[in-house]
Amino acid sequence: MKLLRSTGSVLQRLLRSPGSALALLFLLGITLAAILADLLPLNPYAQKLVNALNGPSAANWFGTDEVGRDILARVVFGARTSLLTAAGAVAIAAVIGVPIGLVAGFFGGWRDATLMRFVDVLLALPAILFAMAMIAVLGRSQVAALIAVGITGIPSFARITRAQVLSLRRRDFVTAVEAFGGSSAYNMFRTILPNSWSPIFVQIVVLCSVAILLEAALSFLGVGVAPPTPSWGEMLRTGKSYLHEAPYYAVLPGIVLTLTILSFDVIGRSLAGILENRSEVATPAKAGGAP
């Protein structure tokens, strides 16, 4: 109940800024379209070669592609690919990254050194290269893209959680649980983790935008989700070959992709502002403003 009330108040504050309200509205629309895509009168696979590369019209609002498929239908179904990949990737990153950060920050010593070296190795290569190498191993599929993007997100969760744990580790309420004989696992997951949610939640939103971008980039390079499954990156890749004949082909899906990424970014930053103001007392480490 308390959680519901606090979620409600965060949502209210989020809606107060016109930018975040618009971003939320846009994401809501995209998500609904992705979920209800099957109920809409859209078919992303129906080919009609005589209609190939027709500009936007009343019948095809976004025009048609090189084999006469409706680009709007492919954008809507592509949203499903993008959002699913992003959600799965962020879940993988959080489920692996948060415990790594918890253990590293809580125990310190060799566990911290070993886990953070692992995270450093992940960070040393640009995310896109790492994801490509992963896909080379796993083969080209949506699941492979999801896992590859997810693994590149682990370091950010590990680092943020670790920083958060370090700032809470010596606080009285954590020491008190230890003094009363609470186990390390209880302390990590029941005492520290519930007090670390704000930055982790902000990171979830921010990483959604990164994951969507990375998935689209992989598809653009031709190693992401395999065609004919609609994907925004793949549409831009093909659209680039028809810039002279059909500039709308690469431009319109790009607008939807960009607006989605921007919306997650805007909401992430607003949330950071709202949650960090509120949790400033609880996390004095952040007041120092680490770069």
Binding site: A133, L243, T258
Partner: protein, 315 residues
């Protein structure tokens, strides 16, 4: 100072070793090697065995790795299975193109990012701050491959000012052609990074503007230009240098997407080719070179610190 550089170098070695083992293990985890692609689908088992023997792929994975490591330590990264050329030679051909793009993109990002950050930091909360912050968000949110496409549409398809595909021309051979070829990829990458730089420098500047020494400088009547130019910038630049260094390091291998948009012959595209043809020696070589450059740039940034901030000692 020398001790510091050596120590950092010592930290680099285990990282490289770990990365190379990781990549090797990943490559061997995949079914289907480069030989299948090389000899074709209809090759006899004897032909495949002969080709495997020729490239030493019939030996156990650990032996192959140790052999590679021993040669790599002597500066020999092996021969590309597909290009049949020494790996270092192939990388050497692409590296100048990548460095050209990295430097050009960094210049573009600084030229856009620094003024944006200063203008918005001087009047936090004003309309100009809001407009410029929105601009930074836009620069960060627009995917580079889409921005690249838009720039091609405008400058190549509509205006015919610049080529839509960028080749590599050394700047010392034909500066004008080099700039024409670099303009669009550098602008694409530079705009994106300027968003990061502007956001970061703005936060750093806003923090410095509140510092006591700024109030002192102002109260003794120094002109604003001098307060910002010499006092604040010097302090705000410190964390900024790290970010610029990180960005440059990222361009070395991470500009894959931009290189793909403009079919620019950089190191990133060489690595994509290597991955798609499972060219083990070339993949290993590319990644090791990218990592070495990445860490070397980071090390150079650390050393640069001493010049900007005399408070840092390399003890």
């Amino acid at each position: 100072m020398i001790g510091f550089v050596l120590r950092r170098f010592g930290q680099l070695l285990p990282l490289l070793l770990l990365a190379s083992i990781g990549i090797w293990a990943m490559i061997f985890a995949v079914p289907g090697g480069p030989i299948g692609m090389l000899v074709g689908e209809n090759a006899t088992p004897e032909a495949i065995a002969a080709a495997e023997k020729q490239f030493g792929l019939d030996r156990p994975a650990v032996v192959q790795y140790l052999d590679w490591l021993w040669n790599a330590l002597q500066g020999n990264f092996g021969t590309s299975i597909h290009g049949r050329e020494p790996v270092l030679h192939l990388i050497g051909q692409r590296l100048p193109a990548t460095l050209h793009l990295a430097v050009a993109a960094t210049i573009v990002s600084l030229v856009i990012g620094i003024p944006v950050a200063i203008l918005s930091a001087l009047k936090p909360g004003s309309w100009i701050d809001r407009v410029l912050s929105a601009w930074s968000a836009l620069a960060l949110g627009v995917p580079t491959f889409w921005l690249g496409i838009l720039l091609i549409l405008l400058f190549a398809v509509e205006l015919h000012w610049l080529p839509s595909a960028s080749g590599y021309v050394p700047i010392w051979e034909d500066p004008l052609a080099a700039l024409c070829n670099l303009a669009l990829p550098a602008l694409t990458l530079g705009v994106y990074v300027s968003g990061i730089l502007a956001r970061f420098l703005r936060a750093s500047l806003v923090g410095e503007l509140r510092a006591d020494y700024v109030r002192t400088a102002r109260s003794k009547g120094l002109p604003e230009r001098q307060v910002v130019g010499t006092h604040i910038m010097r302090n705000a630049l410190l964390p900024f240098v790290t970010i610029v260094g990180l960005m440059m390091a990222n361009f070395i291998g991470g500009a894959v997407v931009t290189e793909a948009v403009f079919t620019y012959p950089g190191l990133g595209r060489l690595l994509i080719q290597a991955i798609s043809t499972r060219d083990y020696p070339l993949i290993q070589g590319c990644i090791v070179v990218i990592l070495v450059l990445y860490i070397a740039i980071n090390m150079a940034v650390d050393v640069l610190y001493a010049y900007i901030d005399p408070r840092i000692e390399y003890s």
